[in-house]
Amino acid sequence: MLLISCPWCGPRDEAEFHYGGQAHVAYPQDPSALTDEEWAKYLFFRDNPKGPFAERWTHSAGCRRWFNAVRDTSTNEILAVYRTGEARPATVEPRPTTPASPAATLEPRSANPARPAFEDEAPSGPNGGLGAEPPATSTATGLRLATGGRINRAEPLTFTFDGTEYQGFRGDTLASALLANGVIAAATSIKLGRPRGIFSAGVEEPNAVIQIEEPFPEPMLPATTVELYDGLVATSLPGQGRLATRPDPARYDAVHAHCDLLIVGAGPAGLAAAAAAASSGARVILADDRPELGGSLLGTGELPGWADELGARLESAPEVRVLRRTTVFGYYDDNHLLAVERRTNHLGAAAPANMSRERVHRIRARRVVLATGAHERSLAFADNDRPGIMLAASARTHLHRHGVLPGRHAVVFTTNDSAYAAALDLAAAGVRIAAIVDTRPAPGEWADRARAAGIEVLAGYAVTGTEGEARLTAVSVAPYGETAAQREFAADLLLVSGGWNPVAHLFSQAGGKLRYDEALGTFVPDVVRQAVEVAGSANGTFDLAAVLAQGAAAGARAIEAEGYTPDAPALPAVPAQPQGTPPMQVFTVPGREGAPRFVDLQRDVTVDDLARATGAGMRSVEHTKRYTTAGTANDQGKTSGVLASGVVADLLGVDICALGTTTFRPPYTPVSFAALAGRDRGVLSDPVRTTALHGWHVEHGALFENVGQWKRPWYYPQDGEDMDTAVLRECAATRESVGFMDASTLGKIDVQGPDAGVFLDLLYTNMMSTLKVGMIRYGVMCKPDGMVFDDGTVIRLAPDRFLVTTTTGNAATVLDWMEEWLQTEWPELKVHCTSVTEQWATVALVGPKSRDVLASLAPQLAVSNDDFPFMAWRETTVAGIEARVCRISFSGELAYEINVSPWEALALWEAVYEAGAPYGITPYGTETMHVLRAEKGYPIIGQDTDGTITPHDLGMSWAVSKKKPDFIGKRSFARADTVRPDRKHLVGLLPEDPGTFLPEGTQLVADSELPAPPVPMLGHVTSSYRSAALGRTFALALVKGGRDRIGERLYAPVGDRLVPVTVAGPVLYDPEGARRDG
């Protein structure tokens, strides 16, 4: 959503504005002097440049003023805004791109990611430090440690998975609870049906995507992100979920939020950024998708206590808002970010019913710091999909966060240092690490430390295959590059690390560009136009001390840019770590012949599948993705995307940086439909508008028709009448005596000013300036293309004041139309337009006895035909209520429209009902109104027209001025297509059998037998009714050359029949107009 600066109101969300297309397209001085080509240019041709574009907007939900903007259509960036009438600014500079992290450009990143990122930061030890004291080897049962982790052992929870009941603890995820119960296989693969195990500890999970069954079905959630609650029932899935068949009882809502700084991710970088900004007075939002702050620290166990302590301080800082369980999932133009907060999911059946289950936060941030971390990636080695194969850091996370050992006997397979810390922590907690298999020939100090801890390190080795069906049983290894196994280890756990991918999803969505970092062997944020920085491992910085310093610096820079003074937070000391060794870029690992090497576990895509794609000629990762479906599953390739690019690069023999990645699209993780729908459902999906008389209509049994947003009485059935019977009764009563209806919904616009007459002459096809005060005229409006757009009456209240009525559905559109012309084309006209639709209630009193009823209620009003002629209006009191009475008729009968304040509407209505009782006054609705007007051939715009019909087509040439030099639409009446003799005309249609009813929409053909398709069609039925007055059915139709066919027989295909019909003039009832005057 763009942020648009209204020149009068300031910056506002795009949703407050309406777009008006190209600016500076003046209405021609004299359209009649233009050729058809020139007129067509004005009507239809607008610039459509890719780049800066001068365009019009109106602040429709604000000041309602039009203005211009220059916006770059290739970036959506608004370069200038200026008022209507001002010249387009000469030059406008686009926002420059800025580096994802300013510091990163000062000093090229070291080839060794273990080095500090820049000089002004505190020196620190390298990479992925050892955590806190790992939880002690336990004497506890099973795989759950007796102590440690962030679970609450005092709060046991019971849950069911695939029909078996288990126990876990508050603080578990479903995945960690399953692991603690020795369950690792949690899915069946989608295409091959292979058993798959829990592979990670977070949102990147490709395998354990499960179905929630109870308390309410929800499909396809990663078990690694489902917080455990009591009574949870879940099942494993083969890659396809199930929707509930019963309605979702939960509530969902959305809020808007504005801040100086949004920090995404509360890991070390995000927390440090928040610490730098917390007490500055800047409005800060810190959002994290987990229930606890700490990010990667929760998984590594490093800096114990720091996140909790800082979190408490942030919570108490008045301008800081901490949003937990909140995923920022979309990054849109002008720093508009979307987040979803899961508020009650973790409570299961105990969730309070009155609290929204999920809440969308629509955040407009002046600055953003993305501290979104990194995902570990896997390696494409033989049989790399067995349950028990897990990302190394994820195993460490299950240990530190949940006090769970994912297995007992592990092999570690890595290409970089980070897996060593995982291995050491797990070993200290009791996992037997059979070997660390490292593709690097000289893994350096971390390997020394592992060896010192008694772990065998196989340098320059790789995994060549695995064994095990339901669970991994063995891992075979060989020197990297060889395919035949040389050694085999028994293992129920294989921890893998193929390197790290910064989580660049939001950065990319923001329009940021990535670059390939050779040293890190991954894609990292490069440059971006929006006001955003990236910090920490999201930026390719993996050394903890550097991450902290980078986060703090990013937070400080962001709020300084907004005029605040940052803190210099005391960052925690990071213990010294071994010297790091650069990672090795490995994607495809040679291994056992014939064994599948999976790239995308969730889509069952292997190296061989990708090889088939490149063999078919595919040269782009977008094509290999589509050829194989790699990266299209629920995880959207979080662990597989870069791996797939790397494998394809290997296959094509090109550099991975030449291939890039596929595009990162919102949302970052899946978001429920219901959360996005929020509260805009049911009656709140669109406002319901009712008139002041609505209650009376309901009480009297009216059925309602939606007309635009309005509820209008449709008809008032009595004693079980169907619609036909009720409408015939209402029509007859009205034509024979008197009826009344609520006409309050018609649009009413008060047009004032010395130029009001001139203005209306330009808008309407007929002349309004000559209308006398006290009188009323019917008018038609066209669009510039000459097609009818609206109609209604115009009342002249004073020399400089008119009241314009519009159709019910078009009221707002007509007012906008007036404002557009006044503000953008004719600002010299002194005219003001105000909607008064809801300031008046209107009661139409219709029928030969209407004068008697009115006279009885308005003793001061002279009601005779001479005193109060047709198309006049009078101010008087009706039933003691101040009223404006208009003598107009939409039925052909003597009729009045009585306008009063809506506060008085019910009193008036009831008085009319009472005064009319002696005449059997009958309330009627829109259906009867439609019949009565159709009998007189009065068109309904939008029903008898469809945007391709001129006033001449309607037979309303009498309403098209020949005197006025110009009005909107006039020039178009002279185009080749609008002067065709066979244009469609509005005519009457009489079925030869007076009882045959033609459905509205029926087409018309010339011949009594249908030829083979395509059958030439002459027109169609626009309105069709049973007439009480005519004693038969009749219709209105648009027919080619219709006025020249009056008396002709045509045929109407209805079902399998061809119904003969006769073309008639449109006025079928009282063609001489005798009844109008009573």
Binding site: P219, L243, D248, N634, D686
Partner: protein, 410 residues
Amino acid sequence: MSPTTPGADLPDHPDFLWRTPEPKRSYDVVIVGGGGHGLATAHYLAKNHGITDVAVLEKGWLAGGNMARNTTIIRSNYLWDESAGIYEHALKLWEGLDEELDYPILFSQRGVLNLAHSLQDVRDSVRRVEANRLNGVDAEWLDAEQVKEVCPIVNISPDVRYPVLGGTYQPRAGIAKHDYVAWGFARSADAAGIDIIQNCEVTGLDVVGGRVVGVQTNLGPIAAGKVALCSAGHTSVLAAMAGIDLPVQSHPLQALVSELLEPVHPTVVMSNAVHVYVSQAHKGELVMGAGIDAYNSYTQRGAFHIIEDQMAAALELFPVFARAHVLRTWGGIVDVSPDASPIVGLSPVDNLYLNCGWGTGGFKATPGVGWVYAHTIAHDTPHPLNAPFSLDRFTTGALVDEHGAAAVAH
């Protein structure tokens, strides 16, 4: 091994699709734009007219524009004769396309429902059904109960804000698999000797004496006897290189998919009044289109409130979707004409041809437009089916106004 998930396995693509040739210095015909329309045009130039000295120039990866971004709905139930003519021609070609291309394009004729929510919707729907039948297009009007029989998950309760009053049904409509379609045409064109040149951006059109003679590209100049534009949202930019103004505006159009779900939705449902169109694709994902963003843009992304509005409308009609998840959203750039109908035919420059203005209707027309555009290029005169879609209709006023009341916007 357990049985595979229903719909998990789509047919494999062939072992070979297309070459990656170097561009020659000259071709009889250069097609600018390697999307569905450009590739279908190349296929029919070869197949119907024996013209194979053709290059298809694509500035990015093949079929990576709107062809990769649409919601794959195929139908021909348009109101006006001219529209029904070209879309029904396309639909008939769709029905034989598997065989014609020897490629499983997965055209699933599961029908499309266009719902009516107001009395005027009902009138317009009946009008369109009756016109369709007389034009030889299969169409039925269904009342609300019948709608529910076709698609049991539609909420036809009268309690919703704009209740379903009925709908039109075209049984022969359906969905296909867009990549398969594009690649089928590409493979066929490639096999006929047509050069598909990717990562080749046209930067200029060479016009001499009112006649196009070639194109400038990032890979150098390429001479051409004829040049055919097939570049959807970017057509204005290209036409401007030859000094041609077009009455089209480029807007973002967004769409989205859910995760894979067991089958719940057997057809395609569209509703103009509440702005929904949704189907459940072959693998089980719900595919939905959102509204057009109001402003001109070439960014291939829209604003998120459009998606939120879309979801609210979708849940009104399909309450069972509540806990489905949006997995992925994206945007394409559609070129919208004043009457919501395409411009296909000759241009003011000799030997330069126009195919644009398809708005949201481009995918379903793919084989049909390929057929008639190839004819137009081969004969330098429009095929009868695209003759009404000339540029000069905006001057005469003879529009094909699918914006009009009975039109379906998508």
